[in-house]
């Protein structure tokens, strides 16, 4: 055990933690009497600088394959570098949007908590060990609970935080329970060691393995907000302060999906043939009947059922929403469903794994980017009109044409309209799924996902209709902070440019892979 090595491996995380401490010190020691605006700006800029330092540290560590003892395995796969860079960029964008907010006087603490949560995200993105996974997840989650509760004067914020915390605590307990079974069966906390040990067992893994699988799925399902572990999402998205909600919807999603890809890539999940009598027996039967036995493993079936339920419920429930934040929450559930489809098929074979994990990463990174912008616009409108109801968006194109145009681009991208990046995210993902296996089952699943994205266009257009079409009830201009506006324009421009040149981001992610 060499602490110098440990320090070197965790350089990005350390950079974030140091930045968090620095923000606290500067804010509490030097800026006590300064105006809130100054404090927010300083804290956010320091945070952004911390993210920049962490990105530099990512590049500085030699390759992304360092393995520290067997206890702490970080960043073993190439995609991790891309995910971590994405986490840092998204965190920086969220911090920049924070500059124009006044929900709390304790900005130093808020920024510090956000940076620490982001470092938790960095950890889980690269973790290959049960303990590290759990520590990273808790670091991330605790930060999120605190951030959700930060608007102390708002009852909704407290309610949202409490719900989030209770659900989160419960699912963390489930996951830890599952981890303990895995450890008990194999005597190791390292994912690849667990894999090796499990494959030694004859005639196959004991029933406890499936219990562990389900409880772990509950824990991870909570993090990515998929049905049936999604109940916290609408309330939290609605009640949390906008930067916190944006962070939950983007950074936390990217990190959790990176973790999921990491777990799937070690392949301890898929190698076992279908167990009879499993919850998802009918899917297995369908898959087997269709001749695609290869992919009909319990883990596969479990993920597919969750994915389909999320796509269907997320999209249908979003239709009925009148609060734009809740609409975004349900659409997030639907998007998580699409992504899970990609993950399910990453289980099929080695080639599928790398291609699908690229597609999943592409999807979740671009989704995170888009959704930060969407929450940013919602928060500007909310501050001007006092609510995030659909009708608050009436006549936005007159009240602030730039923000309206940004919202148009972002929502159309979320709906998957080309040439915006959201289209390529879906396209890539579905092509990857069909590339792994072109049997009737994947085909039907992709067809369902595409059909549901038609439904999603309807509810995104409900918002855009109010922005552009319906007459305004109030035409006073909405002012946005110049930094906020600039961030939105950058995000919208990125969505357009990455959509017109889809190869840019794809190649970037693939190159991370090639480093390995």
């Amino acid at each position: 055990m060499n602490y110098a090595d440990l320090f070197r491996v965790t350089l990005p995380e350390t950079a974030l933690e140091l930045a968090a401490l620095l923000v606290l010190v500067v804010d509490l020691a030097f800026l006590r009497r300064a105006a809130l605006k100054v404090r927010v700006t300083v804290a956010a800029l320091l945070g952004v600088a911390g993210c920049g330092a962490a990105v530099w540290a990512l590049g500085a560590s030699d390759g992304w394959g360092f393995r520290f003892d067997d206890a702490l395995v970080l960043a073993q796969y190439g995609y991790v570098g891309a995910a971590q860079a994405g986490i840092l960029v998204l965190t920086a964008l969220t911090l920049l949007l924070l500059i124009d907010s006044d929900f709390t006087r304790h900005v130093g603490e808020f920024v510090a908590v956000m940076l620490m949560a982001a470092s938790g995200g960095l950890l889980i993105a690269g973790a290959q060990d049960l303990l590290v996974i759990f520590v990273g997840l808790e670091l991330l989650s605790l930060g999120l609970y605190i951030m959700t509760a930060f608007a102390k004067s708002s009852g909704k914020s407290a309610e949202a935080a409490l719900k989030y915390y209770l659900f989160g605590g419960m699912s963390a307990a489930f996951m830890l329970f599952g981890f303990s079974y895995l450890y008990g069966m194999t005597g190791s906390t390292n994912l690849s060691a667990i894999d090796a040990a499990l494959s030694q067992l004859h005639p196959g893994p004991p029933p406890l393995f499936y219990v562990a699988l389900v409880t772990i799925a509950a824990g991870l399902g909570f993090k990515i907000a998929v049905v049936p572990f999604h109940l916290w999402a609408p309330d939290t998205y609605e009640g949390a302060p906008a930067p916190a909600a944006a962070f939950i919807a983007s950074v936390s999603k990217v990190a959790s999906f990176a973790l999921l890809v990491g777990i799937v890539s070690t392949r301890f999940v898929p190698v076992y043939p279908a167990g009879a009598g499993f919850v998802t027996g009918f899917v297995i039967a369908a898959g087997a009947a269709a001749g695609s036995v290869v992919i009909a493993t319990p883990a596969f079936s479990l993920i597919v059922v969750i994915a389909v339920a999320s796509m269907v419920l997320g999209n249908l429930a979003a239709l009925a929403q009148t609060s734009v934040r809740r609409l975004l929450a349900y659409s997030a559930i639907a998007h998580a469903g699409y992504i899970l489809l990609g993950i399910a098929f990453a289980l099929a074979n080695d080639e599928g794994t790398s291609r699908n994990s690229n597609a999943v990463l592409y999807y979740v990174l671009t989704y995170g980017l888009t959704t930060i912008g969407a929450f940013g616009v919602v928060s500007v409108v909310e501050r001007a009109t006092g609510s995030d109801r659909l009708d608050s968006f009436l006549g936005l194109h007159k009240r602030n044409p730039l923000l309206a145009a940004v919202l148009l681009v972002l929502f159309l991208s979320l709906a998957g309209i080309p040439p915006l990046v959201g289209f390529w995210a879906k396209f890539n993902l579905f092509a990857a799924v069909l590339g792994v296996s072109a049997g009737p089952v994947p085909f039907a699943l992709v067809a369902l996902a595409i059909a549901l994205s038609v439904v999603s266009l309807y509810y995104y257009l409900q918002v855009l209709k109010r922005v552009y079409v319906m007459p305004a009830t109030d035409e006073t201009p909405i002012k946005a902070h110049p930094v906020t506006l600039a961030v939105h324009l950058i995000i919208a421009a990125a969505v357009v440019v990455l959509g017109c040149f889809p190869a840019l981001l794809l190649r970037w992610i693939e190159n991370f892979h090639r480093v390995m």
Partner: protein
């Protein structure tokens, strides 16, 4: 690097796309409250696009497929930014150029958010140009989907009767259709296992016949929704009626052609065996070809009959579009040289004539009378008070019913000859549509313009005091241009047929080029 200019001036065609999108962006950034400037800019962009289209058409005469731009776009998936043009593309690009100019002329009176109107307008036009020039499967699809959203805003913001409903219906139908197409294309892409998504490469990939048999109807139906194929046509009348004049001109003039073009360029070219017999037959229907021909014929007859029963002038034209697009689909299903050529010519012809009809009904008449109810128009003596409109509608009506001398005659005749060679009954059934076509145009013409109620002195004085606004120069120009084109093509169809025939020949012979 992305905009490579070949010495060959056919490559100017690619610039129609860039120009339209640039124009759209420029118009979106224009200051509000300067409608005159926006109008002239829009006209300049449209005319420049038309000039390029004409230049490309003239330069392309006698040439086959000309590649305009070919650069890798998504190398890892084999997707290329591949623009090319054969005779069919050149004819349809020409149509788009004409429709774009005419649409701007007939939108001259739009004062509400003028710059935004034209921004959405040119986003749509640019996408349409893009579809007609794309020779990469997914590039074509991308342009096809770009065309969806501007339509929504054009109709929902500037439309009339039940505009939000009409706009949403149209968008959901279009997007559902394109979802079907996307599913089919993804399946074809993965099944072919090819490293190129070029249309021609995929056509040569040799997709298994059994695969083609189920993928073809999916893709064909997806595209045909936008072409107004019965029973998926219901978006068309409501959408056309709700749309502002320029948008209904574009919808009928070019957007429905996108669907038909997709059916031909992607559906038939990529899955030629999808039309093979199933090996069994049920009440005389033994292949997808029979199914779609039947739907096309039902569309022809049903659209015409429903048009006959309408009380709203614009609905008459809306349903007539469904009927005329049926001829396009029927022509495609003949799968022979003359029938498919006729279908392509019909796309051009209907684009021009329907544009003219919608312009007269929506702009010249409705913007002055503020009603489209035939019963009310009947009391207005329009032939006397708006002689220009009446004369224009007579010309457009004659063109629409397929009178020799206008483009519609040549096109529908070829379709029917092609159909005769396949199945006599198809012609007999479609003939009913032709006859009813005469009836509904005549009925509408008589009711709207030539009612023989004699006015009393009092009515005459009232009419004198409330004279309609004079016909403006953009309207005259637009009418003369569209009617002139239809007449010219009717008298000298060879000019388009020379371009269409060789392209159709290679397309139906080899599945690709």
């Amino acid at each position: 690097m992305f905009l490579i200019l070949h010495p060959n001036s056919v490559s100017l065609l690619a610039w129609t796309i860039y120009l339209s999108f640039a124009g759209s962006l420029l118009l979106a950034l224009m200051p509000r409250g300067k409608p005159v400037l926006s109008r002239w800019l829009a006209l300049a962009v449209a005319v420049a696009g038309l000039a390029m289209a004409v230049q490309g058409f003239v330069a392309g005469m006698g040439q086959g497929l000309v590649t305009l731009v070919d650069v890798p776009w998504v190398p890892s998936m084999g997707i290329r930014f591949l623009l090319a043009a054969d005779g069919i593309s050149r004819v349809l690009v020409l149509l788009t150029g004409l429709a774009a100019v005419a649409g701007v002329l007939f939108s001259w009176n739009i004062d509400l958010r003028t710059n935004e109107f034209f921004a959405f307008y040119f986003a749509l036009i640019g996408a349409v140009y893009g579809v007609f020039l794309s020779f990469d499967l997914f590039l074509l699809f991308v342009f096809y989907e770009i065309a969806i959203v501007p339509k929504y805003f054009l109709i929902a913001i500037w439309g009339s009767t039940r505009r939000e409903y009409g706009a949403m219906k149209l968008v959901i139908y279009s997007f559902a259709g394109s979802a079907m197409v996307l599913i089919g294309l993804l399946a074809a892409y993965t099944t072919a296992g090819s490293h190129s998504t070029g249309l021609i490469d995929l056509a040569h990939a040799g997709l298994p016949v059994s695969f083609q048999l189920w993928c073809f109807p999916l893709v064909f139906t997806g595209f045909a929704i936008l072409a107004g194929m019965w029973p998926f046509h219901t978006w068309a009348p409501t959408g056309h009626v709700a749309a502002p004049t320029a948008a209904s001109m574009l919808l009928a003039g070019v957007v429905m052609k996108l669907g038909a073009y997709g059916c031909l360029r992607v559906g038939i070219a990529l899955f030629p065996h999808g039309l093979d017999p199933w090996g069994f037959s049920f009440i005389g229907i033994g292949s997808w070809r029979n199914v779609f021909a039947l739907l096309a014929i039902i569309g022809i007859v049903y659209g015409a009959l429903v048009a006959l029963a309408q009380t709203d002038f614009k609905f008459v034209i809306g349903y007539s579009s469904v009927s005329h697009m049926g001829f396009v689909l029927l022509g495609l299903m003949t799968l022979n040289q003359i029938g498919v050529t006729g279908a392509v010519l019909q796309m051009f012809s209907h684009g021009v004539i329907a544009g003219l009809l919608f312009a007269i009904v929506g702009r010249i008449v409705y913007d002055r009378t503020h009603t489209r109810q035939l019963a009310e128009l009947e009391t207005m003596h329009l032939s006397r008070r708006m002689p220009f409109a009446a004369a224009a509608f007579v010309v457009a009506g004659i063109a629409s019913i397929g009178m020799p001398g206008f483009s519609g005659f040549v096109a529908e005749l070829q379709v029917l000859i092609g159909a005769w060679n396949v199945n006599h009954w198809w012609v007999a059934a479609a003939g009913i549509g032709l006859v009813v076509g005469v009836a509904y145009i005549w009925r509408a013409m008589q009711k709207a313009f030539f009612s023989d109620l004699l006015p009393s002195a009092h009515v005459l004085e009232q009419e004198h005091n409330h004279a309609f606004a004079a016909i403006t120069w953009p309207e005259v120009t637009g009418v003369v241009m569209l009617a002139g084109v239809s007449l010219f093509v009717g008298l000298y169809p060879k000019i388009l047929l020379d371009a269409i025939e060789p392209a159709v020949k290679t397309l139906i012979a080899g599945g690709g080029q």
